[in-house]
Symmetry: C2
Subunit: 680 residues, 2 copies
């Protein structure tokens, strides 16, 4: 390089340098450390290194570019353009040579570490840095005079052409290595997995010639009720399909503790449950690959997030120790596995599996994934993050310190243990308002956007009718009963006499509030009973007590903001949650929904191998609080039983719609099935 | 430590140092780096650290030892002595404390790196340094206030108690970790595998409390014809049992090339052969564990040596490329595998498998094992090492350089393609002498130590009688025919007229020599035909040509010594081999037998992990010579056709018995079945 050589400036990085005339743009980019992709290593066949040369004057960069600053369009580019089409103004970086001063833009799709912008309001981007990548190599043919194995020559090719010093491969790969090398005339593409948990990069797959059908990964949120998966393109980061199925372990027990009991009571019961969930994951993987129209063997990575019991049952470990103090995990660290170890036969047999670390015996990899997605440890203000499910995972923290616990809310928030309760599915009442004057309800059911007092509601709800009340509906109902003056602070429902409305129905020694009665047409009678109130009180007290316990530990009595995570969190009305006392009071605009944050965390770990190291570090630094042994948890639990607000704390907002689910609304954790089935 | 502290001198190492009164002998040994074993880490329960204190004056060490130089016999030692018995004069190193100047002897069985002396005349010792070892640890119980996984606490215990920084474990181990820890009250013994091919030590097995049933490994010599295994105690190095079975792949083809053809002609044929050999290995492992009366799950390591085709078929790789130039191996490097990858279900499911590296497409891991056992690269004089089988592996070298090739001798040396030929089995003629005067033969058959002209021969040979002639028998027969003047240099058998003996029988246009005729009793008629001579000439020419090719490459026309390896090599008469021109002429005392050197190499690699690194380095440095493409090989082959010696080159030795088989005579490579069946 000397001062008379042409100056090359890359945007958006701003990196610049002088290169002799005739230097390919890709070579210049590599020497400057510019993030320009290439799978074929500059052979003009993969087209990943597309760039856009700029012509004219670039005052910002101090460069005037003349026509002829790049070599002419060549035959390789012409052939590619005719075959696949190049966007106007684009060149192939490996073909175009620097001939004069030039400004070269690297478009996002040509960057290796491209950023994937999520749909979320929070707009956290995922930077692509996947563990598994494609490399095209030309391997030396075997030579009797210098006998080496084909694997050793492939290794040499990767070392010489890609500076990868060493590789390993398992027997299933070895058994196909020789035919593939020969089919590709010793030109092959390998999918290489490099992770901080594996000392040596591993060949996951090999294809003859240039492989152009992509590479995929599955981010799986394995919940007690639902298994949700996001099929992600490992090159672009794009989610190609999302799908969920019910966790078949439900037949062994609705909640986690009944499954632990099943394992304790039935010899081999844990293995039965392990088989069931692994089969379900295989089914899900097949379905999602079919939906995205890809070959399932192109799925070369899977990331799992799950609670500790599901974690153990997925791995084939008896969860019995998690059912009793001291709630010892068999292992808490993150894990790198092979698909076949988990019998995941539906995807590539050599696919790698990453399981996020667990935080504690009750606080699982799903909570770790929420921490990865929501990053409380990077928050300037003090954030309370609640992932509501059968157990609530609670994180409290800011830059100085993060605390975590799990609280046994039970299944009431999911509509279970509620007299008219049901899962979130078409026909379930999901939102309700009670007029403070008339004490009359109006409501909305899943499957319709209309309120029950709007025209056309009956037509839309259709034959299935109104079938019950789901988690978000019961929360709103209880809060509305309180604000309408139909229930006192202790949660006691008033009588028809005391409240002056016939909606109050005596049932034995207590009263219920009648929402909907279709018994005349053979339909259901939907009420909120005193028992329902008690169940919700227990659940919300547990949630609140967990949050309070972390606040005590942190030495604060208020938080700056609240994040509701979980697909369920996306549908809870923040106002009603605060009226109920589920969460500490904060200004309404300080309550946000993170959608399926656990699923998002899984996707981040799938797309960025650095995020795996990051969450492993974060988990080690989190202060773990065990609710089961803290006497103060009981105190907070009892104290939280009351329903404090007797009026609307946010009267300026006449109608508070459920928060929009900002992202990932097709999947879901514990309650992920809801939206899926509703839209399906 | 100061100058008034007692002086401790350890023998045989001679290491010495001063230690404060009350220092346990084990602690002193560790601080000085003395090789003193301990599994329990000084807790007085494993008894591996036994030492013998010396009393009196030790002029060599300048120490006078008084009674009381060690603390008194304590309760722990008393309990152990009553339970198991301690040899007279022995103390437990972890209990006995230094109280005054003392000389302490570490007996061989208390040394970790104990040396195992082989029975061989060459007396090469194996130094114990196995990859898998036992560690007793006390693991912290789980604590809700500091939640960590059981695996992570086991890791911490190994770090704190044994300075092992990091461990890993697979899912099958994880699934038993929690019950075993609790059964052992958090005191467990782990078998930990540490190898240069694995970045992190791996837990292979875990037992509650102190594990005292030992730890075993299998050294397996996987030949085309026979699979031989040596069950070895990984603590003492002792061979507990040796056994062999026929390779069931014989039904797909007698020799390697017919198996390669079978794979080429039959879709899935390679997998059929892979299944067959893996099943055979499982059967062998079961049998050998039964014979040694050990639990097969205590077999935690296996080392394989084999030729390239068997190597590929064991690993599940189609060997088709090995059947045609350029004879490309799928992989040539050594391999670290899990038993389950090879479907070795008879041994511990987590057992580790080490496969020695291959040298070239025709020169396998078996030849590498011979190099490990015979160490041509450490030889002062130029050694020619020949492992005779269906293919002959040939090594030539000394300290300056080692060369290797493989030569296609064909199966004639094993009795195949010989008119009266048979495998080495009872009834086979294995040695023969022809009287130069009378031209009459006398011979010995497998199953009897008597010669055919000795009294009682007929009784000993028994009902089975004389059935044929095996490899060593045909070699002797051809050489004796030459020395008796019954055959010329070109290998042409003379007529009855020309030789003056009726033993010469005309058969068509050529003649045969009649050794034994039992047709009158319905038995066989055993002759050496002109065709037999031609077959042996082809085989010996190939062997000789291979050796000559290496000598050319090395620029020499003679070697200093010859080593015959292989169980077959152990039975060849060196004199007859030289008369025949199988091997270059050297003084008779410069021909030695290495016995089953490949099996010995496997055992060395099993017992000493450093030997694995060593052979990997050696193999990289060996000069590989490919006979198939060297025009000079053909020249040497043609030139070697003649049988040069017409008289006994060693007339001073009237009768030359076969060389004794110095070691490993129960197993065997290609022909290992012989001795086994003979003695069985």
């Amino acid at each position: 390089m000397n001062e008379t050589d042409p100056l090359v400036v890359f945007t958006p990085s701003g990196k610049r340098g002088r290169f002799p005339k005739g230097t390919p743009v890709l070579t210049a980019a590599r020497q400057l450390g510019v993030d320009l992709d290439s799978v074929c290593g500059g052979r003009g066949i993969c087209s990943k290194c597309q760039i856009t040369p700029g012509y004219g004057e670039f005052s910002k960069h101090g460069v005037t570019v003349h026509q002829g600053a790049l070599s002419e369009w060549n035959a390789v580019e012409e052939r590619y353009d005719q075959k696949r089409g190049l966007k106007a103004g684009r060149r192939l970086g490996c073909q175009a040579q620097v001939m004069g001063d030039i400004v070269i833009d690297v478009p996002p799709e040509s960057q290796v570490h491209k950023q994937v912008v999520r749909k979320a309001a929070s707009a956290r981007v995922i930077q692509m840095d996947p563990a598994t990548r494609l490399y095209f190599v030309e391997v030396d043919e075997p030579d009797m005079h210098e006998p080496t194995g084909d694997l050793e020559r492939l290794e040499r090719a990767l070392r010489e052409q890609w500076e990868i010093p060493e590789i390993t491969a398992d027997l299933t790969l070895l058994s196909k290595l020789q035919p593939v090398l020969r089919k590709g005339k010793f030109q092959v593409t390998v999918a290489l997995h490099q992770s901080h948990l594996d000392s040596v990069p591993r060949v996951i797959e090999i294809w003859p010639g240039l492989h152009e059908s992509g590479l995929y990964g599955l981010a799986i949120d394995l919940g007690s009720t639902t298994v949700a998966a996001h099929l992600t393109d490992l090159e672009s980061g794009e989610v190609k399909a999302s799908s969920g199925i019910m966790n078949p372990q439900i037949r062994f027990g609705e909640d986690l503790m009944s499954r632990v009991s099943y394992a304790m009571m039935n010899p081999g019961g844990d293995q039965e449950m392990t088989r069931a969930v692994r089969e379900a994951i295989n089914t899900l993987a097949e379905e999602i690959a079919k939906e995205a129209e890809i070959d399932p063997s192109l799925i070369v990575e899977t990331v799992f997030v799950c609670n500790p019991v599901m974690h153990h049952l997925l791995l084939g470990i008896d969860p019995v120790e998690l059912g009793q103090a001291p709630f010892a995990l068999a292992t808490s660290d993150s894990m790198a596995l092979e698909a076949r170890e988990l019998e995941l036969s539906a995807i590539n047999t050599r696919a790698r599996v990453y399981v996020l670390p667990c935080i504690a015996g009750h606080v699982g990899a799903d909570c770790a994934a929420v921490a990865l997605s929501e990053e409380p440890g990077k928050s300037e203000d003090l954030a309370l993050i609640v992932d509501v499910g059968t157990n609530a995972e609670i994180l409290l923290g800011d830059k100085s310190r993060v605390l975590a616990c799990s609280s046994p809310t039970g299944p009431a928030f999911e509509g279970a243990q509620i007299s008219s309760g049901q899962r979130a599915a078409p026909g379930a009442i999901e939102a309700i308002r009670i007029d403070p004057e008339t004490k009359e309800p109006r409501f909305r059911v899943i499957g319709s956007e209309k309120w029950s007092d709007e025209d056309g509601f009956a037509e839309e709800v259709g034959a299935g009718g109104i079938t019950g009340i789901c988690g978000s509906g019961i929360i709103e109902a209880v809060a509305e009963l309180r604000m309408a003056g139909l229930m006192d602070e202790s949660g006691l429902i008033g009588s028809a006499e005391a409240t002056g409305t016939a909606r109050m129905v005596a049932e034995g020694r207590t009263h219920s509030y009648l929402i909907h009665d279709a018994t005349a047409e053979g339909g259901p009678r939907i009420t909120v009973t005193q028992g329902d109130i008690r169940a919700i009180q227990l659940a919300k007290s547990a949630l609140y007590a967990g949050a309070r316990l972390l606040m005590d530990e942190r030495g604060v009595d208020k938080v700056d903001r609240v994040v509701l995570a979980g697909a369920f969190g996306a549908h809870i009305s923040a106002k009603h949650a605060m009226v109920l006392g589920m969460i500490p009071d904060v200004p309404l605009d300080k309550v946000t929904s993170a959608g399926n944050a656990a699923g998002t965390g899984a996707r981040i770990a799938l797309c960025n191998v650095g995020a795996r190291r990051e969450i492993e570090r974060v988990v080690r630094e989190i202060t773990k609080v065990e609710t089961a042994i803290e006497p103060k948890f009981q105190e907070h639990f009892v104290a939280a039983n009351a329903i404090p607000h007797k009026t609307d704390p946010f009267p300026e907002l006449a109608k508070v719609a459920p928060l929009p689910n900002p992202s990932f609304n097709t999947g879901g954790g514990e309650e992920g099935g809801r939206r899926r089935r509703r839209r399906g």
